[in-house]
Amino acid sequence: MVKLTLDGNNMEVPAGTTIYEAAKQVHIDIPVLCYMDLKDLNIRNSPGGCRICVVEVEGRRNLAPSCSTAVEEGMVVRTNSVRVLNARRTVMELILSDHPKDCLSCAKSGQCDLQNLAIRLGIRDIPGQEYAEMSTYRIDTSPSIIRELDKCIMCRRCETMCNDFQTVGALHAINRGFYAVVAPAFEMNLEHSPCTYCGQCVAVCPTGALTEVDHTGKVISALNDPTKIVVVQTAPAVRAALGEEFGMKPGTLVTGKMVTALRHLGFDYVFDTDFAADLTIMEEGTELLGRLTRFLEGDREVRLPILTSCCPGWVNFFEYHFPEMKDIPSTARSPQQMFGSIAKSYFAEKIGVDRNDMVVVSIMPCLAKKYECQREEFMVDGNPDVDISITTRELAHLIKQANLDLVNMTDGEFDQPLGESSGAGVIFGTTGGVIEAATRTAYEIYTGKQLEKIDFEQLRGLGGLRSATVDFEGQEIRIGIAHGLGNARKLLEEIKSGKSQYHAIEIMACPGGCIGGGGQPLHHGDASILSARAKAIYEEDRNKQIRKSHENPYIQELYREFLGEPMSEKAHALLHTHYFDRRKRVFQI
């Protein structure tokens, strides 16, 4: 323990504690800007770059950044002396002097950490603004993400996510001094970089420098086109987070309210991606069992472990970084794409609509989904299975624009047949959920027995890399789980070197899985929000009557009426895909 005095408080904290953390213990909230600490997830950004959190330490020549200065025995700290307050304000004025002032029309307005700090510090004037040069940079638009680096404040949070957590390496500081920005190597566009569109840079960007491509306008146009049948699907993680945009407590489930709001917005059919998640389990689970059975029968050609393929950020990752392993992941399409494919075939047939007259909109916690639905392999004669993918945040904007009071809305029910789902489909939204859902079904099919306990607690949690063994009546199934692409990379390296012990591995690109997706309401550095969302997801699962994908009656009907068997020829054509070597993408600028 270390003794120190902080603003007159004599206190004792564990060695290694930062001044910022120590101050919190005595209810002193030092303002920070570049700093971010997602505690449970082991993600920390404290470059000491913004210098907003500086404090006065007795005996030191200069002010110290409290976010990255550890306490020392006998330290005397002042967080609000005139010297500190003047320095903080002056630095803030400097940052603002190089930041555009179009707050009213900025995509981040109201959610901007810089704006909030300006409010908190009571900034009323930026001296010398009239003649201060601004550092400018071209706007770069990719299928998912817009980079508007005039608004970049060099907090480097995106870099931490992209390099340290995701090990993608698409973003890095380039150029010097006043013209330093964060950009892909050689200043190429994001589209030509190794970017996976996971959107974690967007999720942590404190300003409007990194935002999603806004597709709400396209949705409004489609809804107002009388010639189109507009179908919407909502991903599992959306219902556990949407409420936050309306001031509800993190972890509040708004499934029914969301359905009502979507209906009010004018969607002709309100369906659930969870239905497609159940379908994914049927296909992926069958594929897993197939590979497993062949393996146990001694077939050494078969590739194990099988890797999940629901996450488009992850798919982009292995296509770029591990193309030589592209035959290992399941060929099952993601739930979003399975849904689109079934909606525009099975359901379109059912209601007698041509696929070209149907618009499928998806509400996703994800930015990579925007790119995924634009992939050519998910189109039929140029008509995409999913037309428009918008994020949870964009849906919130749509709801607000339509004057809908989500908080007080009555609960609605999804339409059928593509609105019914099992609890297994719901838990796709959190890390470990897909593999738990698959285990529930695979167990029963493999053993022919009913599960006594449906909850596989050993597969849950927020550890970045987890492993568990499930007993399939004498046959041990070893399962690996990773969220965050850096963790995924570790598992892939293991597989590559032949050291992997797993039969099946679930990988999600984002921290916490889809609940922490790049399209979710911003967590502003508070990791407890992700835990609350995960809790909500499991709660929704528990409340479901049906909790196993293969017991979903509409799934059974779909196979009976349309697909035949899982992995049938038709199922292959509609529900499976193949992967590409995208490493060369970077050279095709």
Partner: protein
Amino acid sequence: MSETAVKSEPKKKQIRIALRNCGVINPGRIEDYIEKDGYLSLGRVVTELTPEESIEIVRESGLRGRGGAGFSTGLKWEFARRSKSDQKYVVCNADEGDPGAFMDRSILEGDPHSVLEAMAICGYAIGADTGFIYIRAEYPLAIERLKTAIAQAREFGFLGKRIFGTAFDFDISLKYGAGAFVCGEETALIHSMEGHRGEPSLKPPFPAESGYLGKPTNVNNVETFANIPVIFQRGPEWFKQIGTERSKGTKVFALAGKVNNVGLVEVPMGITIREVIFEIGGGIKDGKKFKAVQTGGPSGGCLTEKHLDTPIDYENLVACGSMMGSGGMIVMDEDDCMVSIAKFFLDFTVEESCGKCAPCRIGNKRLYELLDRICAGKGELEDLDRLRNLSEVIKDTSLCGLGQSSPNPVLSTLANFYDEYISHVVDKKCHAGVCRDLLEYFIVEENCVGCTACARACPVGAINGERKEPHVINPEICIKCGACMEKCKFDAVILR
């Protein structure tokens, strides 16, 4: 003392330790270096002394880092020694970046073996078997000389395995820098060596705990290393009798600017600035009046007449509002405008800031803009307060030494030449005649014969006057091109 040149025996005040062999030996021949007792110190250290004893000698000598900050070299070695690790590194910082400074280059080109020898001694002392010289790629000759020297030292067994038949192994290789000023900062240098962006990171952890590849690393500057073999040859007692109470030995300065003798000078600590400029430097050029001297490189401060008798050492220079830096010394005379000088140095730091921390990245730019406005006659009195506040905040909040010192030229000129700022801002005058926007062309009536040459030369018709009558320049129309002044044969056109 008169400010005119005292040219007699300019060398008398100089003592050559770091530069002892430069220009004396053939740097391409290790034999020449050995003849000057080269590698004798290394031999003695590895065969007779324990690492602790070697560190004690360096500590005892009082040698402090010559790269700028002036930290005790012995202590630095001791910290690296104390760090427990399977691998440690010695790094020589040869990323000399101060404009006009070339002492490191001279040492590397003229006496490369002294640095190699010192690095090996350091390796022995701290427990490292690998050394790197981080050298800017713009120093091709120094690189060439170093390569030759390393090959020769290996051949002679001074580098490599089992040096002097002992169990001590040490080898050195080169790492090239791309010429970023900030890479002279040791954490930035280490990041650059690792292949990362050359930008500093917070200390602690210090390189002595976690440096290159996360291993304990001792970084010393070229000139610091060049002192080491001599300290072992002649003993710490000898070394520490040179210099002042707290700054021992000599310092190499790159004397430049409006002084008669420019170039490198190596002088004992404690010598006064006056002695350097007026005795060694031979006084101000063209008999002009001394105005200021800027020490410490681009982020040093400008000192004046009143500082001339200050004995040069680390503490005194800081107390005057400047610093030792790597040893730049630029002399200015009455024709220099101090506001422009501050602007000139800020221009450099704006270019060379890495951009990591906000005060340095944006603050220096804003300082530059303010100075630019003042030089352009657009400054207001409140700008001077802003300059001072901004400078102080940048110093107080920046992450590394670059930002912590970059406002020095502004603060020191504000402190020592405030009247010049006032005349720029209030009177809109630059008395040194440097800031073009503040000058006007004027025809002295008595000198003008009315030849009309100026009026005909003026491209904008700003000059009026009858033939054989004195002419007048209309300042509203004048674009300050200077054509009239060039044409006038009677010195009637002046700038004022």
